[in-house]
Amino acid sequence: MSDMFAGAEEHLKSRHRAERRFRWMGRLAIAFSLGFLTIMLFSITILGKGALSRTEIALRVDLSIEAVNPSNIEATSFNKLVRNTLFEAFPEITNRGERRRLLGMVSADAPFELERQILAEPSMLGRVQTIWLTASDDIDLFEKGEVDITLPEDYRRLKDLELGWLQTLEADGQIRSVFNAAFFTSGDSREPELAGILSALVGSILTLTVCFGLSFPLGIMAAIYLEEFVKKNRWSDFIEVNINNLAAVPSIVFGLLGLSILLGVFGMPRSSPLVGGMVLALMTLPTIIIASRAALRAVPGSIREAALGMGATQVQSTFHHVMPLAMPGMLTGAIVGMARALGETAPLLMIGMVAFIVDVPQGFTDAATSLPVQVFLWADSPERAFLEKTSAAILVLLGLLIVMNIVAIVLRKKFERRF
């Protein structure tokens, strides 16, 4: 150390300091991004967990033969039955306005719910039964502690009158909270307490199936052809530049293309996963092509030389040796593209997948919506109870994304080989 030139030690120290500084900056950057991610997931989960439960109100319903004819259940007006039941439960209320508020305590679906329960178990007919019916969204929010009752009455949707009834019901044990299976088994609804994610989830899965089915084979074929077979000249450069530009085109433009060509010229079914998937495939294609070409380029040239040098044809060399090695990279590209397609809303708006879809789509040509569009629709709804639905839908979207990623990782592990 003694023969080091003057100031060398000082210089060395400052180099080590720079090193340490950089390491800390890196750690800080990672901590920041992880922190924000955690905050985001945490807040969405907190907001969304409410969607997993709903409130039910027990009513003593008169199911005697006079009220419901067991041999002709369908002929009954269940609407009336629910009305009468509620009015009998609170006989002191006679005012029209108050009676309407009383009816608003249960969900608009309550008569149908009652009918379904009776049809499912006709043996309960013939006498007065206690039946649990879904409460309306305002009641539900109150039971979840989302309503601030310290506010002046005018600022609340839930008035003191209803709070009084709730107290009575609660005192009698006529209020309970149950797991909201309907959220996962039903489609959209104007009533927040009835709205479910299934139609959007199925819509997303169908759309992505079409998207993957089109863009993955086309993308890797295009990439293989461009990378392994085409001679480099002005044309190949032109194509390359255009593919790169295509990857940067705003997604709504693809939606416009779908609207004018697929719907306008070819008259394909509006709002369908088929058209949505095709539009998203167009959007995803450049991403997959670019990633696949990069993966192919990363395969060492010596593998190609080895195969071709043995007398393999270009196709044999590519499919026997190059493609298996590039497969993990191609799958990564595909999953990045798919993840983007899954979260895409704008192009789907253009082709009508923003529709209000109650029924679960049964096929690729049925009207459907997708998860991000559903999130957008719910977030746009005035009812406060849609807030928890929105967050829960986002969680479902993230869940689907995680499932897709896991599938990709498993496939990648399967294909991965050492050099």
Partner: protein, 254 residues
């Protein structure tokens, strides 16, 4: 038949774009002998080697003029199929490049794509015979299902030689086959080359003049795209005719 040359190159020019990489090469390669191509870096010896099995076709900007005849047939004729040409002219590369597959699959790949494998026992025979000829059989006989990439560098290179032999070529091109190997592995490869000469015609590109002197019967010296001098290895090294050859072998250029 044994006397006439197996390969005759006549006035071969090779261009990379506008650049002339080989300038009017005329060379005869005798059958069942080892011919080495020597010369300083960038002299065109590898380019010449790669025009013999048309690996240069893979380079988009590469253009070959003149004719190279193998067994009297110009391989640059329109009716020549590069696939069967490359089955006939095997190649071993500078860096061992086994496929990321098992040792067995590495050797059997060539025969399989050329339709030489009729049955399972056929395949086993071809693999054993090829590995024996490449002097690798004893080392790998009990682990044929292990990846070829798990072998040592020298073993990998012999695996590549076995892989080339398995297609039953008559000519084997070797592009500096030992330059990535240690001296012991190099010695084994050189010994192997000497044995292979009984059945195959071998052309080897090498940086090392000692290696050329040890393994080859004939030597061609390339310099800046020209074939300066070719002849029996002993004569070329003891009494070179051209000044450039003399300078190179005596270590003054290169």
């Amino acid at each position: 038949m044994g006397k006439e040359p197996i390969i005759t190159a006549k006035d071969v020019n090779v261009f990379y774009g506008q650049k002339l990489a080989l300038n009017g090469i005329t060379l005869e390669v005798p059958r069942n002998k080892v011919t080495s191509l020597i010369g300083p870096s960038g002299c065109g010896k590898s380019t010449f080697l790669r025009s013999i099995n048309r690996m240069n076709d893979l380079v988009d900007i590469c253009r070959v003029e003149g004719e190279i005849k193998i067994e009297g047939k110009n391989i640059y004729d329109k009716d020549v199929d590069v696939v069967s040409l490359r089955a006939h002219v095997g190649m071993v590369f500078q860096k061992p490049n086994p496929f990321p597959k098992s040792i067995f699959d590495n050797v059997i790949y060539g025969p399989k794509i050329h339709g030489l494998v009729k049955s399972k026992s056929d395949a086993a025979d071809i693999v054993e015979q090829s590995l024996r000829r490449a002097g690798l059989w004893k080392e790998v006989a009990d682990r044929l299902d292990e990846p070829g990439t798990s072998l040592s560098g020298g073993q990998q290179q012999r695996l590549c030689i076995a892989r080339a032999i398995a297609v039953r070529p008559s000519i084997i091109l070797m592009d500096e086959p030992a330059s990535a190997l240690d001296p012991i592995a190099t010695a084994i490869i050189e010994e192997l080359i000497d044995e292979l000469r009984q059945k195959y015609t071998i052309i080897i590109v090498t940086h090392s003049m000692q290696q050329a002197a040890r393994v080859s019967q004939r030597t061609a010296f390339f310099h800046m795209g020209d074939l300066v001098e070719a002849g029996a290895t002993k004569e070329l090294f003891t009494s070179p005719q051209d000044e450039r050859t003399q300078n190179y072998i005596s270590g003054r250029i290169g």
